[in-house]
Amino acid sequence: MNGVHDMGGMHGFGKVEPEPNEPVFHAAWEGRVLAMQRAIAYTGAWSIDLSRAAQESLPAQVYLGVSYYKRWALGLEQNLLGKGLIGADELAAGHSLHPGKPVDRIMTAADIGAALTRGKFGRSPTATARYTIGESVRAKNIHPLTHTRLPRYVRGHVGVVERIQGCHVFPDSVAIDAGENPQWLYTVVFDGRDLWGEASDSTVKVSVEAFEPYLEPA
């Protein structure tokens, strides 16, 4: 969806302001949110793509107006409710009021090593890659209403395939519960002037990681 999360190239957000000696978490609840997200992901209730989709579907003013971890917490609540793992009545009460739904597995202290390792997103290809390294490709001009990982700023532009990253789970499918639908993933590099105009910095090149369905021959 063309949400405010798709920020590449937007103006008006001001300077980047690094915080000296920044702590890992700014409040204890931030760590709890991060850890809960991990622990719930471990149960197999939903994938990372659905977490992203939930945050992106927050109202634009909410997305922009809250901190990173508050956005996570809101997305977590939304998915817990959406998957029927908790009820709105329970959220209001602050306690469990009904028995839990069965989940694949529960993360215990013994599972921490696995829990801290990123998931594997590579899959065996079922077809050969359509594009080759060095080939010119155009990012499609698409505007899906659901989750996608093709940022707006490259849509319609021509770039060059620089790397083939293997065949990966396709977020656009996973986020709508339509299965993994693995697709070839390419690093496609664009000339900055093609994206930002002739007056822009001629030394800039920008790449995105683009799934094959995002691309067409140029």
Binding site: G8, V24, H95, A109, R118
Partner: protein, 191 residues
């Protein structure tokens, strides 16, 4: 927010979906063990061991795992190398994808709208926000982490560090230089 988050944790615990003790360990890992010091070890090794550098550029997941300084490494880690002609910079414009295993959790600025919006369109302006000025003809290559591939920058080894040990070199490697919004410290900065 604290009360709201505590309520969620209470419900999830009572329902048997999560074990709070496991949550404690995840938080502890990110507060103590998983941070940019891991990435610094990787960079320092690459600076001192050309064969490792080759393996890192070729397949960072395997190379970093073999180094053994970083716990477990997921698939799809990619190291991109700065050269005198090219400076690399990492961003995730769509959310905040970041190489957690080697750099820990991302700083607030990396997740912020100013960085995510401008890194791809005005990287020199962003570098200026960090006090960094590159030669005008240096190519700036921005990597937008729009999938599950994760990137880290292998910065150039600072001059004047000939003969330094890996450990001493690691002290020059900052988090920001592995994101591409900084440069390694110069020897005189740590003298």
């Amino acid at each position: 927010m604290q009360l709201r988050v505590r309520a969620i944790e209470t419900i999830l615990t009572e329902k048997g979906y999560i074990d709070p003790a496991a949550l404690d360990l995840i938080i502890e890992a990110f507060e103590t063990r998983i941070g940019p010091h891991n990435g610094a070890r990787v960079v320092a090794r690459a600076w001192t061991d050309p064969a490792f550098r080759h393996r890192l550029i070729d397949d960072a997941s395997t190379a970093v795992a073999e180094l053994g300084v970083v716990g477990r490494v997921g698939d799809h880690l990619v190291a991109v190398e700065n050269t005198p002609k090219r400076h690399n910079m990492i961003v995730c414009t769509l959310c905040s994808c970041y190489p957690w295993e080697v750099l820990g959790l991302p700083p607030v600025w990396y997740k912020s709208a100013p960085y995510r919006s401008r890194a791809v369109s005005d990287p020199r302006g962003v570098l200026a926000d960090f006090g960094i000025t590159l030669a005008p003809d240096t190519e700036i290559r921005v990597w937008d982490s729009t999938a599950e591939t994760r990137f880290m920058v292998l910065p150039m080894r600072p001059a004047g560090t000939e003969g330094w040990s890996e450990e001493r070199l690691a002290g020059l490697v900052t988090r920001d230089c592995m994101i591409g919004t900084g440069l390694p410290k110069r020897p005189e900065e740590v003298a």
